[in-house]
Symmetry: none
Subunit: 228 residues, 2 copies
DNA sequence: CACTTATGAATGAAGG
DNA sequence: CCTTCATTCATAAGTG
């Protein structure tokens, strides 16, 4: 197709007119494009960080939405207040501990559900406690007592000394040299998020079609007049 | 300014011509706009997650990036061949976990043999897994969820009970209502990252003008021909 | 302050 | 499905 100069000029003028009046929904001004650019880049950078965070936190195998590392986000107050608090661990008071020890000494076997209830309610008189706490305490007490016994008896041979728990010094968790890991993040962001791959990380952007997600877009679009 | 019908039509034709030939750098086709939309929304969603993570981690006074240093990257997903830590026990990767959680929330009852197979094969795409693992996971998930429920309803002393074994079933992703928090995040993302606020989170997007960040944009721009 | 120990809690797996 | 075990996390407290 051929276009004469005059036609082109006229068309350009028309286009500018439409743009300036926001009548042409699919056309953006330079300013708008630049703004959009900044935002996309910002999002890209931010998302990279997310991936990084996500990766590192994921290593703790406890990334289950509400629980982030050792932090808990109270779902009830997860509104504006975003109350994210550090987990507090129960600790038996000396009195409670003594009682527990006594019961443990006498106890022939496992506490049992009903027994737990009783113990818990008894200990509740001496401080804050829950049945779960009692349950855990006995669980750990038993296990560790057993392990200690094992360790002391079989001390001759360094065979089963490969016990964990007390040998956590040289922990393998010391960053298995993943420099390429970090380097790859930038690439991952793009490959992950800009393709329709079935990559599992798609979960992260599963909201794309959600209502809120769409709102996000709507806001953005309005802001830039993309929707006309 | 006034435009005659003919002029407008001609201008439109010209515009279409330019668009179709990619000669008009500032104009996007519907398809491109839609793609862009998706990506922006995706980034928005992702960034939301970052904000969430960031906030929770910020709760740590000692958070200054070193937190990331302490963490190690998941050996299972870091590099394909390198298995640094030989885990004897299966541990779901974050992605697997999310999928499992989703299924769990939707699933009305027990997965069933055939269902297990399906799930296992799906999860196998995201890491090592066996049907037994899936089976056990659901078993434990249900049992612990149940126990937690019991504990919370049974004892009225509630309060700061050191909850364990599962974090409520109805919170998390599904999150039908009470999404003010989520809704606000979208706004926050925009206000946080697109203003010159002194918010500490600006640190996160310090890269906006960095070379890599710009590359991100460049790639994106090329992909969509924004740069002409 | 770095390192170790003690311990509450989380969780995959096994037994019944 | 329930109970129990074994292992592993994460962290506070203790120690050099």
């Amino acid at each position: 197709m051929e276009w004469e100069n005059q036609e082109m000029q006229q068309a350009e003028e028309y286009l500018q007119f439409q743009i300036q009046n926001g009548l042409c929904g699919k056309v953006m001004t330079d300013v708008q494009v630049e703004e959009l650019r900044k935002q996309i880049v910002a999002y890209a950078a931010i998302s990279e960080q997310l991936v990084e965070l996500h990766k590192s936190m994921s290593a703790h195998h406890d990334f289950t939405g509400m629980r982030l590392g050792n932090l808990y986000c109270d779902p009830l107050s997860a509104s504006i207040g975003h109350k994210i608090t550090a987990r507090q661990r129960w600790t038996p008071t000396p009195l409670q501990l003594q009682i527990l020890e006594n019961i443990y000494e006498q106890g022939t076997g496992t506490p049992g559900k009903q027994k737990i209830k009783e113990i818990a309610s008894e200990l509740a008189q001496h401080g804050q406690i829950s049945e779960t706490n009692v349950y855990n305490w006995f669980q750990n007490r038993r296990a560790r007592s057993k392990r200690k016994l094992q360790a002391s008896t079989g001390s001759g041979n360094g065979e089963s000394e490969a016990r964990s728990e007390d040998v956590g010094t040289k922990d393998k968790r010391t960053k298995p040299a993943g420099s390429d890991f970090v380097d790859n993040i930038a690439n991952r962001v793009e490959s992950f998020y800009f393709q329709n791959s079935e990559s599992g990380i798609d979960q992260l952007i599963g909201k794309v079609e959600s209502s809120r997600g769409y709102d996000s877009y709507t806001n953005l679009a309005e802001q830039y007049g993309l929707l006309g």
